[in-house]
């Protein structure tokens, strides 16, 4: 079967490069075709990359607390750009301070994200979710 394509990157003015590299290797190892946009990625860059590559999912990382601002409107822009229904994930330290994860998850789901992952999520969790959502059976 053809590999599923996912676009990954760290959104906004965020320069945390280490986690991004780990995710790249983990996702590639798990059998995905990974398009890594690196750090400081704008919403438009995710969308452009997903269009050219015909990607199945966009996985957004954010570690510096501004994720909520950076991610707002991404789903709407995807819809506008013809990426209707594309799988959207977000994970990391996506909000300021310590907030109950259930509330954070609720807010991001309301913004159109299909899955939301809190701090310290191991890559395996996200990989399992991707496989489930994209209908990949091992």
């Amino acid at each position: 079967m053809e590999k599923k394509k996912i676009v990954i990157g760290v959104i906004g003015a965020d320069v945390h490069a280490v986690g991004n590299k780990i995710l790249y290797h983990a996702f590639t190892e798990a059998g995905f075709d990974v398009i890594n946009l690196g750090v400081m990625v704008s919403q438009e860059e995710y969308i452009n990359a997903a269009i050219e590559s015909n990607a199945d999912a966009i996985v957004v990382s954010s570690l510096y607390g501004h994720g909520e601002l950076d991610c707002r409107g991404l789903r709407e822009k995807c819809d506008e750009s013809g990426l209707r229904g594309i799988l959207l994930y977000v994970g990391g330290n996506i909000v300021v301070g310590k907030q109950p994860f259930e509330e954070v998850e609720k807010r991001f789901k309301a913004m159109g994200f299909d899955r939301v992952f809190g701090p310290g999520t191991p890559p395996e969790t996200t990989i399992a979710a991707l496989k489930e959502d994209l209908g990949i059976t091992d």
Binding site: E2, K5, A13, D14, V15, H16, D33, I35, L37, G38, V39, M40, E44, E45, N48, A49, I51, E52, S53, N54, A55, Y64, G65
Partner: protein, 466 residues
Amino acid sequence: MEAVLLIDFGSTYTKVTAVDVTESRLLGTAAAYTTVETDVGEGLSAALAKLEQITGKVTYQKRLACSSAAGGLRMVAIGLVPELTAKAARLATLGAGAKLIGSYSYQLNEDDIAEIDVLKPDIVLLTGGIDGGNSEAILHNARMLSGCRTDFPVVVAGNRSCARQVAKLLEPKTSYIVENVMPKLNRLNILPAQQQIRELFLERIIRAKGLSREAALVDGILMPTPAAVMTAVELLAKGCPGQPGIGELICVDLGGATTDVYSIASGAPRRDTTVYKGLPEPYAKRTVEGDIGMRYSVQGIAEAAGYPRLAQLAKLPEEKARELVEYLAAHTDSLPDTPELDQMDFALASLAIETAVARHCGTMEEVFTLAGTALAQTGKDLTGVERLVLTGGALIHAKNVKEIAAHALYSTRQPESLRPMQAEVLVDQSYILAAMGLLAGHHPISALNVMKKELVSHGFAQSKNR
């Protein structure tokens, strides 16, 4: 002595250059009006007669030519996302020495097709999707293009997964499948498409433009003129086996209607903490500013720089500057024969170079993050390039060329623009760059030596507003 004749069938002038390749010596140059309406051979004969007065009777071992006559190589570039494959397609087209007459992204509609039919391109470059990526757009665009009434060949350089299908949909148009201009995201691969464009130029375009009779007079019209200039400056920068080049450089060709900028430089981030954004640009990059030129596009310079600055630089009242710009636009053959026009041409050339080089170079943006300031670079960082080659009538004949050239450099006016900090100014006084690009294919060492001898150094220009 082994002499080679190099011919440039230009849109206005046919220029001939004679070189003795055994001694790497320029024998002479001459020019005459291009006579494309009647017989291009007439202009060539007139130029050759003038050349013979300088060189005396010479037997040429080879006659090589390039051409930008009859509109040059006119191309349309099509891609998917404007910043990605459509940009790669534009870079490929310009780098191949073509004139980019139209650029399209996403899915073509009926109006685009009607427009392309009016544009009548010589070649269309069709791209879209990385390998294994989006195929919907390129398939749609192939289907739409097949309905164009104009007959043109299509170079297909998109998603390889559907390349054959694209060729089938393009029928009855002839198509040529080459490697994707962007096989992976943000990876540029434009050489195969450029190679195909060049072959098509040789096989079909020369004939279609009625230049084949001239092609018979010479040993071949090898390439469009801008491709010859690109070849020359690439050789000048990189050198060839047995002869070093002069290193990374920027070349500006300031014309009456357009301004071409070439850079032969890596342009990669100079600090490893800098984050590079977007599509990496080619080592040999050409851009063309269609709105920046000394006569036909004089208003474009004024619009880009603004009248207050133009007037200030020309040391004229703003009213006067406006009046002169209008005059020059209406009288495109006027020479700077009054002190006012002379001052005006100085200001125009300075601002044309400033605008064109700034558009060519990349930019650096400071981003404030929680971890401190980070630098994000887009396009080429040419701050470390130390050679600036100038060509084109307005620059070759300019008096204070070094002062004009300084406008190509870094300025606090646009601190984000990654232009050279300082550069040695080399002027193509004998107008030989295109000729040397032609010679480079057969006698690279000779071409390099002639350029090193004939390009006149005007010393180092320093950025004034550092």
